[in-house]
Point group: C2
Chain length 376, copies 2
């Protein structure tokens, strides 16, 4: 196995595969990247058992193939070496006993490769169940929901985002049981029958990063316990979470008694000031006092140790009756940061009932739910 490749072009591809390799794995071979060189090109595979990435670098002027073969190379070391090589190109040459000779200009490395037959196989996922989704849509669905997944493992299904794909729309929901984020988007060519799957939140974050700038469609392939996303020259595998996702529709309140509109930026900065003092408290609650009569909203953060902050937050209109409510400022801030409009509507019912944060545009089907905190 021997090839010569343009270094910066190779680094770009290597960076994608590195996302799936862990530097310390309990399975030592997974600290490596499997490299399979055929006449078609170089296939690099990385896996951390949670996600796997397989990437094809096609033979071209930038990748010149001298002889085919396969090897596993220590990901971390290899990446460091490639980054520091002096030349524009480098040559990768596997010699006897899995020794790899890497040369670039006057520098020559001879590093120990690992046996490629010891590298585990990736799951085979048939083409039976597949459909396309635009990269932009998927990225939005992820970033607008993934922050709300549970971070503790007491209810494993809640650590993932629940997706329901149907012919005309995709619904994504995440909740940690204190707050919830649900986004629905319309699509043209969803799968012919409804499909539901729960994908671990942190795997989705990796996927969102990988497709950051992609503009085209991704192809989604469904396996039994895995799902694969194909785009560009790359396949992204993630395990699925088993179990039934709770039916959250019944949690969403149908009516409200108080509605306030805010500029996202106004409320965000007031919350960041209030949380400076509330973050030291175990309860971490800010109080919002909505005075419908005087059209005034006051925000208060309080900590017996440090002190207190109070301010009037600019509002763009109050409907309904006055109300005082306490909530976690971090949940509210996360909801606001996920907002797709500059102005949001917050709908309350009672001081101890969950309230919703929605865009001020009815066309956008995006609802966030936050459970208040009892402070008395």
């Amino acid at each position: 196995m021997k090839f010569t490749v343009n270094r910066s072009y190779f680094i770009n591809n290597l960076n994608s595969v590195l996302k799936a390799t862990s530097s310390r794995s309990t399975i030592p071979i997974l600290e490596g990247i499997k490299m399979v060189l055929t006449d078609e090109g170089l296939v690099m595979t990385g896996s951390n058992t949670d996600i796997s990435i397989e990437l094809l670098v096609k033979a071209s002027d930038d990748l010149q193939i001298a002889s085919t073969g396969e090897i596993v190379v220590r990901a971390h070391l290899f990446s460091d070496i490639v980054r520091k090589l002096p030349g524009k190109d480098f040559t990768f040459d596997v010699q006897e006993g899995n020794q790899i000779k890497i040369t670039s200009e006057h520098a020559e490395y001879m590093i120990n490769g690992l046996d490629p037959s010891a590298y585990p196989r990736l799951p085979e996922i048939s083409d039976d169940q597949s459909f396309a989704i635009s990269a932009k849509t998927l990225r939005e669905l992820i970033t607008q929901t993934v922050f709300a997944v549970a971070t503790d493992n007491s209810r494993p299904t809640l650590t993932g985002v629940s997706f329901t794909f149907s012919q005309k729309q995709i619904k994504a929901v995440a909740t940690d049981s204190h707050r919830l984020s649900q986004r629905v988007v319309g699509v043209d060519n969803g799968p012919s029958e409804d499909l539901s799957l729960i994908i671990p939140g942190k795997n989705l974050q990796e996927l969102a990063q990988l497709i950051a700038d992609a503009d085209e469609d991704l192809k989604v392939f469904l396996g039994d316990s895995q799902v694969r996303f194909d785009f560009d020259n790359l396949s992204f595998y993630t395990r699925l979470l088993e179990g039934a996702y709770p039916n959250v529709d019944r949690l969403l309140p149908a009516t409200s008694s108080t509605s306030v509109q805010f500029h996202v930026s106004d409320l965000l900065s007031a919350l960041s000031r209030a949380s400076l003092v509330t973050h030291v408290n175990r309860t971490n609650a800010v109080q919002m006092e909505i005075d419908a009569e005087n059209n005034r909203v006051n925000l208060t953060g309080n900590s017996p140790d440090l002190g207190k902050v109070e301010e009037t937050v600019e509002n763009l209109g109050i409907e309904g009756k006055s109300l005082t409510i306490s909530f976690n400022p971090d949940y509210m801030s996360a909801a606001l940061r996920a907002s797709v409009t500059d102005i949001v509507v917050i709908n309350f019912t009672e001081a101890l009932r969950p309230f919703t944060v929605v865009p001020n545009d009815n066309e956008i089907d995006f609802i966030q739910l936050i459970t208040p905190i009892r402070t008395f």
Copy 2:
């Protein structure tokens, strides 16, 4: 005590004082900044027992004084608050019971201040022993030596840089007993009698950062166990290290049998490649093979676990006899990064004797010494 101040102007000053405050001190009052407001202006003091900084913000249009007084405010919280306030200005108003009211536009904080009489006094340093030094010169002396101080505490004096100030020159030396860096610069107005002091390395790093862009002279005041640097509106206090600094002059070799010139950048990149494999070894040694006959320098890094790297390093001339020597690549890299010239001369005597790295310009009195590693 009450003042109104321009926020961004205040933050710049606050940042300097924060360098001396620790967020978790065993002396709780030192987590605070002492603020003393007189008609002249606001004096802010921060201290972490190792260094102290006292800074005067003069009364001006940017700092309007309503009433004088003093208070201690929690540094970390106060800094966070000031950064997040909504307005261009803010008002700081001390009320009964050390309560501090901070207002800016529609936001109002009420935080608990601390008793200013509980704040420790800074050492008094008389003006008897003082002299001036240019900020640029001091900064250079620090950055060219401080990296070589000892990081373990087995010989406390070696954790500092030894300075000898005399009328015509300043000498700075640091050594951790494996390598040494000594820089001598000429000055016009040194102190009339020779002064020697050892200043802790990490305190010097803080000082170098503080004077980063300063162009004027610093005034140095010597106390018994402390030294104070005055510049701009700021006084920087650091404790001194007690004890005698070893006489290092006798360590510097007078002759050499092999001299090689290198471009700093060539040798640095070759070392960074070699250390990729040597860093995993306990000995962390690279081998340099100087072949005087063929005018060739080879650098080799080797690790039984990972592999080996070997390369020819461009040299600008070899004088004397051939030699093979092993050394810690990190010490060599640090020496090269401190270099003030693009080309250095490395002078060797024997494979197991310390060697020196000096500028290729005889006018510059800067010598670095590195002890080789025995690899057989």
